[in-house]
């Protein structure tokens, strides 16, 4: 891990305002930001661990827990809201047994993110599994679609 991290961080040495781009790059490579990685980043940037965590936890993009094998994103944007996006989210939570507000199944097979708009408002309500966009969702389609991923 330390060598991999050093390789990721190297290009940012001496750059002004690099904290956010560094965190983005590290998360892209490692998948999330575990505590020991935040310590390393803080060392590299000459900041305290708290300062780095303070920045990271401010932004919605950063995860501090291992992501699931499949990531489900339920759009809670305005257009999806009007078209019943909340019911889609509730269906996913129910199907995967993820309590409201939680983000991962116990077996780490599925991660759940509540996001605010993919800009695909004409297809609302929208659900995204990994990189596939499913538009015009209904609670019964949630069951069908998740079944495909559960079987795999």
């Amino acid at each position: 891990m330390p060598e991999k991290l050093a390789r990721i961080l190297a290009p940012y040495r001496g750059q002004k305002g690099a904290t956010v781009p560094v965190l983005q790059k590290v998360q892209e490579e490692i998948g999330y930001l575990p505590e020991e990685v935040i310590s390393e980043i803080a060392n590299f940037l000459g900041l305290t661990k708290n300062e780095v965590y303070g920045v990271a936890s401010f932004y919605g993009q950063f995860r501090f827990e291992r992501p699931g094998e499949h990531t489900i994103k339920c759009c809670q944007g305005t257009a999806c809201y009007v078209q019943g996006g909340r019911r889609i989210l509730e269906s996913v939570e129910r199907e995967l047994n993820i309590p409201s507000g939680e983000t991962i199944t116990k077996d780490y097979r599925f991660g759940l993110e509540r996001v605010a708009c993919f800009g695909s408002c004409a297809l609302a309500p929208v659900m995204v599994v990994d990189k596939t966009v499913y538009g015009r969702m209904t609670p019964s389609r949630v069951r069908e679609i998740l079944a495909q991923y559960q079987g795999a």
Binding site: F58, T78, V82, S91, A116, A122, S140
Partner: protein
């Protein structure tokens, strides 16, 4: 190469493409096109062309703004008008290639419209269609027409001519031209752009910064995304003009991380600008140097606020600070900074290309030019639109948007997203400009426009928006941090049936407090949806509070689903579809919903065959239905008893 040479070459190539003897196919592959399946269509096109041995030029273009009709494919045969086909699937495009390219049947039944000279039997002119006719395209002038990854196509369509013109003027003259146009900030606040530039130009100091705000955080708004994906150079040209006028050497584009395709296309565009000498040291030999860096946002709505955005670029928590000092005096890294929205930059390029006077002919008295909106929600034709300022709200919804979907009744339109307000039917005559929207209690905002029909609960809508702003409140100032939380708690209670007399008045009082004392515009506008829904839809609040009833049948704690025993035929469809097994019944038995188990997801109502329509949704009442399944009364018997009931 001098720019004149580049331009000549670009025009020659563009003309050659227009008069090519090979057919051309344009596929809209912006994000919404892709979500609707445009990439599968593109693959099919490539495969079918090579299978049939047809030589054609296939180009990926951006978004023409007809989201409801995506994926969109245009086919241009030599010496024929361009025909636009909507809702294209791989099957349809295979058929089109065979029918039109091979057999010369343009398939008017599948076409939406045509563009260009001449006519095609049975196909209307695209820009004469009701959704496009009221539109005026300035910002979106090239979207859907050119390849956004090819700078030459932009140059061939007057691209960068505005910047060339600016270089021949003094910076003060450029600012005067922008002032003459009357263009105002398209990010929502509507500050006059020329004046803003002047402040920054006059600020002392050599080191200055320029920022393009592309942090489109308003859920339901996608104007900036579409603009950047479809015509990034229009924005970049505007930025160059601004940089020259203000006197800066470094600019940033702060773009939402959720827009990977926009970032990708911006990077391509920047690379091409460098290649053609439009970016970097001594641009086009003018002595003016300027460079642009892209900064990706990390998912914080408050970063759309200018001081928060700058803190974020500096690598800090994106929290706003009090003004003054204004960014024009002390902004990024403490230096004078000018920040404008994507839409403003794209408009500025057009202003310099065609003149401030030309631009000022569009729009209303106080709000010049056009405005892009993302029209979404319950309208028949959702899309990205650009209309002249001053257009009637009702014209946007009924002409451009085609009215409410499914024959339902219009209830409200929300402008300005979570910072805006909900305007009722009585406001449909309102002419849309900055002043009028503010007077009505809403704001122009960045351009989100969401239409709600009779099935939308306005109390729940206010709750929804507040839950968003509350979660996105950065927590720095007390009125916003605590006030939005308090308001949200009240709204949650009201929508769950716990409303008490006095709640409305308390909400109003709190809203005014948050509005007038918050540090930045997030808190300063967050109460707008609450205040406008109370102002225009007070009766809905009262129904929730005093009768524990949700008139729009939305709030799940206040509604119930029932199966009517005289209509149920015991078919079992709802029983099998119910995701929580709350329905009991059997063959030819009237089904019954266990109210304790029911999660109010509405699946039973949506699957019950229309000929039975046995499932109903009610609020504020309890229906007298059997608690256990009972045998179905046969439909013949039912009809018989009905006819014998008649006198």
């Amino acid at each position: 190469m001098a720019f004149d040479e580049i331009r000549k070459q670009a025009i020659a190539e563009w003309e050659a493409l227009q008069h090519s003897d090979k057919p051309r196919i344009l596929v809209g592959t912006a994000t919404c096109g892709r979500a609707a399946g445009a990439l599968a269509v593109l693959e099919t096109i490539e495969r079918e062309l090579s299978r049939l041995g047809i030589e054609a030029t296939v180009t990926q273009v951006g978004c023409i703004g007809l989201c409801y009709a995506e994926p969109i494919v245009d086919i241009i045969k030599p010496n024929r008008p361009r025909i636009c086909y909507s809702s294209v699937t791989p099957e349809i495009i295979s058929r089109l290639i065979e029918d039109y390219l091979v057999n010369d049947n343009p398939r008017s039944d599948l076409a939406l419209g045509f563009i260009g000279e001449g006519s095609v039997d049975g196909i209307p002119k695209l820009f004469e269609l009701p959704m496009l006719k009221p539109q005026v395209r300035i910002s979106l002038r090239n979207c859907g027409h050119i390849d956004p990854t090819d700078i030459k196509q932009y140059i061939a369509n007057d691209g960068y001519s505005g910047f060339i013109k600016a270089l021949k003027m003094t910076p003060e003259e450029v600012i005067a031209e922008v002032k003459k146009s009357g263009v105002r900030g398209r990010g929502g606040a509507g500050f006059p752009t020329g004046q803003k530039w002047e402040f920054c130009r006059r600020s002392p100091g050599k080191e200055k910064y320029l920022i393009c705000n592309a942090d489109e955080g308003d859920p339901g708004a996608f104007m900036n995304r579409s603009q950047l994906e479809s015509d990034p150079h229009a924005v970049l040209e505007g930025i160059l003009i601004g940089a020259y006028a203000i006197g800066t050497t470094k600019g940033y584009i702060y773009c939402r991380a959720e827009y990977p395709l926009a970032v990708e296309r911006l990077n391509i565009a920047l690379e091409q600008m460098r290649e053609y000498g439009l970016l970097g040291e001594n641009i086009l030999g003018s002595g003016f140097s300027f460079d642009i860096e892209i900064k990706e946002g990390a998912g914080a709505f408050v970063c759309g606020e200018e001081t928060a955005l700058m803190a974020s670029i500096e690598g800090k928590r994106g929290m706003p600070r009090s003004r003054p000092p204004f960014p024009a005096v002390s902004g990024l890294w403490g230096k004078p900074t000018n920040i404008n929205n994507v839409g403003t930059w794209a408009d500025v390029a057009a202003v310099l290309q065609k003149g401030g006077e030309w631009y000022s002919h569009f729009g209303s008295e106080t709000s010049k030019g056009t405005k892009t909106f993302s029209l979404a929600g319950k309208v028949a034709r959702t899309g990205l639109i650009e209309v002249p300022m001053g257009i009637k709200l009702g014209d946007i919804i009924y002409e451009v948007g085609g009215g409410i979907v499914g024959g339902k009744k219009f209830k409200a339109v929300l402008t300005g997203g979570p910072s805006g307000g909900c305007l009722p039917a009585s406001m449909l005559e309102l002419s849309v400009d900055y002043e009028n929207l503010t007077k009505a209690g809403s704001i122009m905002g960045s351009g989100g426009m969401l239409v709600a029909d009779e099935d939308t609960c306005m109390v729940d809508m206010a709750r929804f928006f507040l839950s968003f702003t509350q979660a996105e409140s950065c927590g720095k100032c007390v009125p916003c941090r605590v006030g939005t939380r308090q308001m949200l708690d009240s709204l949650e209670r009201i929508t769950q049936g716990g409303g008490q007399p006095g709640d409305i008045e308390r909400l109003e009082q709190l809203a005014h407090l948050v509005l007038s004392t918050s540090l930045c515009a997030l808190g300063g506008t967050a109460p707008n949806p609450v205040l406008t829904t109370i102002r225009y839809f007070r009766d809905e609040y009262e129904a929730h509070i005093y009768q524990k009833r949700c008139p729009a049948l939305v709030c799940s704690k206040l509604i119930s689903y029932y199966i009517l025993p005289d209509k149920c035929e015991g078919c079992g469809i709802c029983l099998r579809a119910c995701p929580v097994e709350a329905i009991t019944g059997g063959k030819r038995m009237v089904h019954v919903i266990d109210q304790d188990k029911c999660t109010k997801c509405g699946t039973c109502l949506s699957v019950c065959p229309e000929r039975f329509s046995a499932v109903v949704k009610v609020s504020g009442e309890k229906l007298d239905v059997p608690s256990e399944p009972i045998p179905v009364v046969s439909s013949r018997a039912k009809r018989k008893s009905e006819s014998s009931d008649k006198p």
